[in-house]
C-alpha cells in the first residue's frame, strides 16, 4: 500500500495531488471493524509512511491513528451500509489526517503557510480522497465480509 502510494499513484496525480490511499484503507477498516481492530493497521501503515516521508518521523503515524480512532466510533458503525458513509468518512478523515499532519509539521519547526495550504492543497485533496474512498471502502467491505464468512 505504501509503495503504491509513493511510487505508482504519483504517476496518476491530478494537479500534483495524490490520494491518501493508506489513510482511506485504515479508515475503511476502522469503520467496518472498529478502531481497536484498525489500530495495528494504522500504526504499521503510519510507520511505513514516516520512513518514506521527508516529514518529521511519527507525524504520519500520529495523524493516521487519530483519524482511525475518530472514524472507528461505534456511532458511525451503525451506518456502515449507507451510501453517504464513504463521503462523510472521506471528508472527516482527510481533514483530520492532514490537519494533524500540518500541526505536527508546525510543532517540529517546519515553515508552512497554513492558509494557502488549506485552501489549495487540503480542500482539493479532500475532494480527491472522497472520490477514491468509494471503491476503497467497498473493497474493504467485501474483504471484511469474506473474513466474517471464513472466520
Amino acid at each position: 500500500m505504501a509503495t503504491l502510494q509513493t511510487s505508482a499513484l504519483p504517476l496518476l496525480s491530478i494537479g500534483g495531488l495524490v490520494p491518501d490511499l493508506m489513510l482511506l484503507v485504515v479508515v475503511s477498516w476502522s469503520i467496518l471493524r472498529g478502531s481497536r481492530a484498525a489500530l495495528s493497521l494504522a500504526l504499521g501503515g503510519g510507520l511505513l509512511l514516516d520512513l518514506l516521508s521527508g516529514g518529521p518521523f511519527g507525524a504520519a503515524t500520529v495523524a493516521l491513528v487519530a483519524s482511525s480512532l475518530v472514524t472507528g466510533l461505534e456511532q458511525l458503525n451503525l451506518f456502515r451500509d449507507s451510501l453517504w458513509l464513504p463521503l462523510l468518512a472521506g471528508i472527516l478523515a482527510t481533514l483530520l489526517y492532514n490537519g494533524s499532519y500540518l500541526m505536527m509539521l508546525t510543532l517540529f519547526g517546519r515553515t508552512v503557510a497554513v492558509g494557502p495550504t488549506v485552501q489549495q492543497v487540503i480542500l482539493p485533496l479532500t475532494a480527491l480522497n472522497v472520490a477514491v474512498m468509494y471503491p476503497v471502502y467497498w473493497g474493504m467491505r467485501w474483504l471484511h465480509r469474506r473474513l466474517l464468512a471464513v472466520g
Partner: protein, 293 residues
C-alpha cells in the same frame, strides 16, 4: 385408388377390360410422343418449329429466371459462409499485428523520450564541465501532499552526501536531504521548507527563493528599489555556500510591489515539471557549507 393403380400393372383375371384399356392408353401416349419427336426432327431444320419454341420460352423463361435468381442468392450465401471463416482468421491475424505494432510503437516512443532526456543531460554536462554529475532515477515521491520530496536510486554507495544539489538540464530541482546506502531523499524547491539564495540575472538583485503551497516558487527579500520585470531569469547566487552559483531556478512570472512593505514578492516559474521528473543529475563535486537538513 391404390388398387386401381396397381391394377394397371398387374393382370388379373377378374378385370380384363381395365387392363386392356390402360395398355391402350399407354400405347397411344407413346405413339403420340414418338410422332411429336419425329415431326420435330422433320420440321426443325425448316424453321416451322419456331412459333412453338417461342411460345415455350415465353412460358418458361420467367420460371427459369426466377429459379436462377434464387439459386444465385443461395450460392452467394454459401460462398459468404465459406469466406467468413477465412475472413475471420484474417481479421484475427491483422488484429494481432496491430496489437504488436502498437506495443512496438509505445516502446519506440519511450525510447525516444529517454534518448531526448539523456541527450539533454549530456548537453548539460558538456555545458558545465566543472561539475561532477551523476545521473539518478526518481523511484518514489513523498506520501504526503503537504511535502515535496522525491526518492532517487543513488545513495552513499555512489558517493552521494546530504546537501548535494540536484538538477536537470532545465534547472535546479532541489537538494539531497537524506542519504541511505542505495537511495537518497531529495527536497524539491517547491517544498515549503526549501529556500535558495538567488539573484535576478539581469539586474543582479538578490533574494531568497522559497517553496510555497501548492507547488509555487516565491522570491522574497528583494528590495523595493530593485527593478524586476516579468520574464527575468532567476539564478542561484551562491551566497551562503549552499548551492553552486548560476544554476537556473526559473523565470519571473509576476512582481508584487507594495509601498508599505519592505520587500517585493516575486513569483517564479521553474522550467522543471516537478511532478513529472523521471531522471535527475546530482552535483557530486559540490560540498555545501554547514548544511543542516
Amino acid at each position: 385408388m391404390f388398387c386401381r393403380a396397381y391394377g394397371r400393372f398387374v393382370h388379373t383375371p377378374d378385370a380384363p377390360r381395365d387392363s386392356s384399356l390402360a395398355r391402350n392408353r399407354s400405347l397411344a401416349l407413346v405413339v403420340v410422343l414418338v410422332a411429336a419427336v419425329l415431326t420435330g426432327m422433320a420440321l426443325g431444320p425448316t424453321g416451322y418449329l419456331r412459333p412453338l419454341e417461342d411460345g415455350f420460352f415465353t412460358l418458361f423463361a420467367p420460371l427459369q429466371y426466377s429459379v436462377r435468381w434464387v439459386s444465385g442468392r443461395v450460392a452467394a450465401a454459401v460462398e459468404t459462409v465459406r469466406q467468413f471463416r477465412t475472413l475471420q482468421a484474417r481479421v484475427e491475424e491483422l488484429e494481432a499485428t496491430v496489437d504488436r505494432l502498437m506495443i512496438e510503437n509505445v516502446e519506440l516512443r519511450e525510447a525516444e523520450i529517454e534518448r531526448a532526456e539523456l541527450r539533454e543531460q549530456l548537453e548539460f554536462k558538456r555545458a558545465n564541465p566543472t561539475y561532477d554529475l551523476i545521473a539518478a532515477e526518481v523511484i518514489g515521491h513523498d506520501p504526503s501532499s503537504l511535502l515535496h520530496y522525491v526518492i532517487i536510486d543513488r545513495g552513499a554507495d555512489d558517493g552521494l552526501a546530504a546537501g548535494m544539489p540536484v538538477v536537470t538540464s532545465r534547472g535546479l530541482v532541489g537538494r539531497i536531504s537524506a542519504v541511505y546506502g542505495q537511495a537518497s531523499r531529495v527536497m524539491l524547491l517547491t517544498d515549503p521548507g526549501s529556500s535558495v539564495n538567488a539573484q535576478i540575472q539581469r539586474t543582479r538583485a538578490t533574494g531568497v527563493v522559497q517553496g510555497q503551497a501548492p507547488r509555487d516558487l516565491v522570491m522574497r527579500f528583494v528590495e523595493q528599489s530593485e527593478q524586476v520585470e516579468v520574464g527575468d531569469i532567476v539564478l542561484t547566487s551562491g551566497l551562503g555556500g549552499n548551492f553552486p552559483k548560476r544554476l537556473v531556478i526559473g523565470q519571473v512570472t509576476s512582481v508584487q510591489r507594495n509601498d508599505v512593505q519592505m520587500f517585493q514578492e516575486i513569483r517564479v516559474r521553474s522550467a522543471v515539471q516537478f511532478d513529472r521528473i523521471e531522471t535527475v543529475l546530482v552535483v557530486k563535486g559540490f560540498s555545501p557549507i554547514d548544511y543542516l537538513p
